[in-house]
């Protein structure tokens, strides 16, 4: 009986070296004159097609971010449209690191450090870095101290936002000592940016006689039903209203909130109870973007003029909630349980002069995904980002 021939399986490295060898072999077989001819022709053809050569591969590849050629009718993607403009800016984000003291758990610490490295190696540097909240796991002074130390190594200025994990041990006392007021606003290159403390909760602890630690542990459990729902609260809404009064309707507005400023899934507090009231304050502006943390997943939503983008976590990914997922969301594939950094990452947000944002998810274990304003504005018809082919169970 004849032996069955096994298919030859080549590794990525083998294929790479074969390609490389083939290219150099081909070059040797050419004289200088025809080499110039071949390479010039190849370059011209490639450039005309908006093609670039990928640095670690010898085959020409189509680059999503290649500058649009007028002859091509600007069909190369919305990301490029932003880049052509002279104005606008980019900021980076890190969110939901949940770090314990290093002695207890150094994995979460290392993951925050990785994000800091990512951001520090961006070239050009972002105008600032948004920290999206939940930098500490249980809001302990030692945890927050370590967080502050780590953030000192971020090269760009850091804008802090508070999350429930930072807040509920001492109701923000220590966090505010280190990082200042939990809600504030500032202007940046013609865009008005408001940072909210969206994780206030109705008092559930006094009646139960809880210690601060018990209160913190209760809030720290996502599926813990004892805690109340998040809210911005009336005093802060009044503050926001007053803060926004000064700005005309054509001023681009960006809001940072830890929890999503809409109703997604109540049992996990993927929810801000008074989100509709906050949205009312924002509806008369022409362009509003909300960047939020807490959900540890790629998440996109649009309510009227308001675009919502969730941030990736550096600690662990959350599954999508069983109901309420906004239709525009480009789902993150389910995370690989055998890979501790899968489904995690950081990213950047490009803000165009009209205030529209393109959100880049820099996922550590996967291809980056960009969710553009064109995608959100067209209600998901144009500039569709890469779709997952494996969904959560």
């Amino acid at each position: 009986m004849a032996m069955k021939r096994r298919p030859i399986i080549k590794s990525v490295e083998t294929k790479y070296y074969e390609q490389r060898d083939a290219l150099f072999q081909g070059l040797q077989n050419l004289d200088r004159r025809s080499f110039m001819k071949v390479s010039m022709a190849a370059m011209t053809a490639a450039l005309a097609k908006g093609v670039e050569f990928h640095y670690h591969n010898f085959l020409p590849v189509n680059v999503v971010n290649a500058a649009p050629k007028p002859s091509l009718g600007g069909e190369t993607g919305a990301a490029a449209a932003g880049e052509v403009r002279a104005e606008g800016f980019t900021f980076a984000y890190i969110s939901d690191s949940h770090i314990y003291e290093r002695e207890l758990n150094d994995r979460f610490v290392r993951q925050l450090l990785r994000a800091v490295d990512d951001i520090n190696s961006l070239d050009p540097q972002p105008d600032f870095v948004l920290y999206g909240g939940d930098i500490a796991q249980l809001g302990a002074p030692e945890e927050l101290k370590l967080c502050a130390e780590i953030l000192k190594s971020v090269k760009a200025p850091v804008k802090m936002m508070v999350g429930e994990h930072d807040w509920f041990l001492d109701l923000g006392e220590r966090w505010m000592d280190l990082f200042g007021a939990p809600n504030y606003s500032f202007d940046h290159k013609g865009v008005h940016i408001a940072v909210l403390q969206s994780v206030h909760e109705e008092d559930f602890w006094t009646e139960r006689g809880m210690t601060p630690e018990q209160r913190m542990m209760t809030v720290a459990g996502l599926d813990n039903g004892i805690q109340s729902r998040f809210k911005v609260g009336a005093p802060q809404r009044a503050w926001l209203q007053k803060d926004l009064e000064k700005y005309s309707a054509d001023t681009p507005i960006i809001v940072f909130s830890h929890s999503p400023l809409y109703h997604y899934y109540k049992p996990w507090n993927f929810w801000t109870e008074d989100a509709p009231e906050v949205q009312t304050l924002l509806h008369h502006f022409e362009s509003v973007a909300v960047i939020h943390g807490h959900t540890h997943q790629m998440l996109t939503n649009r309510i009227g003029n308001i675009h919502f983008h969730g941030m990736a976590s550096t600690a662990w990914p959350w599954p999508y909630a069983p109901e309420g997922l906004p239709a525009l969301t480009v789902q993150m594939n389910r995370a690989d349980p055998f890979n501790a950094s899968d489904g995690l990452g950081d990213g950047t947000v490009h803000v165009s002069p009209d205030g529209l944002v393109d959100k880049l998810y820099n996922l550590w274990n996967r291809n980056p995904v960009q969710v553009t304003s064109r995608y959100v504005n067209s209600n998901g018809r144009d500039a569709i980002p890469q779709q997952p082919n494996l969904k959560s169970y």
């Binding site: 314990y100 207890l104 758990n105 994995r107 796991q137 209760t218 459990g221 996502l222 599926d223 813990n224 039903g225 004892i226 049992p267 996990w268 662990w316 990914p317 959350w318 599954p319 909630a321 069983p322 389910r334 995370a335 349980p337 055998f338 501790a340 959560s392 169970y393």
Partner: protein
């Protein structure tokens, strides 16, 4: 001849030790007493059921330990939702004509309570890094709120990283070993059984599809 001899010997031995008479009398009276007690209790129980004696007393009489468990179960359920087991109430009054008669309300309650308790116990372990023995303060619910994304219906399936076909308990142990950094559990360890119960409970109604990826 031989029989008579044996009997004589037995009687002789018994009378020497002085056991026969005393023993016979004693056991007789005890048996009578026990029988009387059971009958009385049974009657009392029947009467109590009919007269609606308070449930706590009945429960204590039955010794089912319900009042002992109530605290931790209620405490856990206040924090975390646990799916209740399938309702078997429609079976009450039905049976197959066996010795033990038809299914009673009490049967259904016991099944429900005991099954649910196991799942609630699992929820307690699932949500506690201490119960899991984590060295790094990590518990299952951090990645799996409400037991989500645990897809127990997809096991057994071949898991190349484990080099074999994984059962749900293998994946639980994998998670305890790595993300949680706790002590892995024996397949029949009470905590493992409870974790499995909770995870299955939370996926109630999902069709089994072993091997699904």
């Amino acid at each position: 001849m031989r029989k008579t001899e044996l009997m004589t010997l037995a009687v002789l031995a018994a009378s020497i030790s002085g056991w026969v008479g005393v023993n016979a009398e004693d056991s007789d009276s005890k048996q009578a007493q026990t029988a009387r007690t059971n009958a009385e209790d049974f009657a009392a129980m029947e009467a109590a059921t009919e007269q609606g004696v308070d449930p706590a007393t009945m429960s204590q009489w039955r010794g089912d330990g319900e009042e002992h468990d109530v605290d931790w179960v209620a405490e856990e359920l206040e924090k975390h939702k646990v799916t209740s087991p399938t309702d078997n109430a429609h079976l009450i009054g039905k049976g197959q004509g066996t010795t033990y008669g038809n299914v009673t309300e009490q049967n259904v309650k016991t099944w429900d309570r005991e099954t649910f308790k196991e799942a609630v116990d699992g929820s307690r372990v699932f949500h506690s890094s201490d119960e899991l023995g984590s060295e790094i303060g990590v518990s299952c619910d951090m990645c799996h709120p409400d037991g989500s994304n645990t897809h127990p219906e997809t096991y057994p399936k071949f898991q190349v990283q484990l080099g074999r076909v994984a059962l749900l308990r293998d994946m639980i142990n994998r998670c305890i070993e790595n993300p949680v950094k706790g002590k892995i559990l024996k397949p029949d360890a009470p905590k493992m059984r409870a974790l499995e119960a909770y995870i299955y409970a939370q996926r109630k109604g999902t069709p089994l599809s072993y091997g699904k990826r």
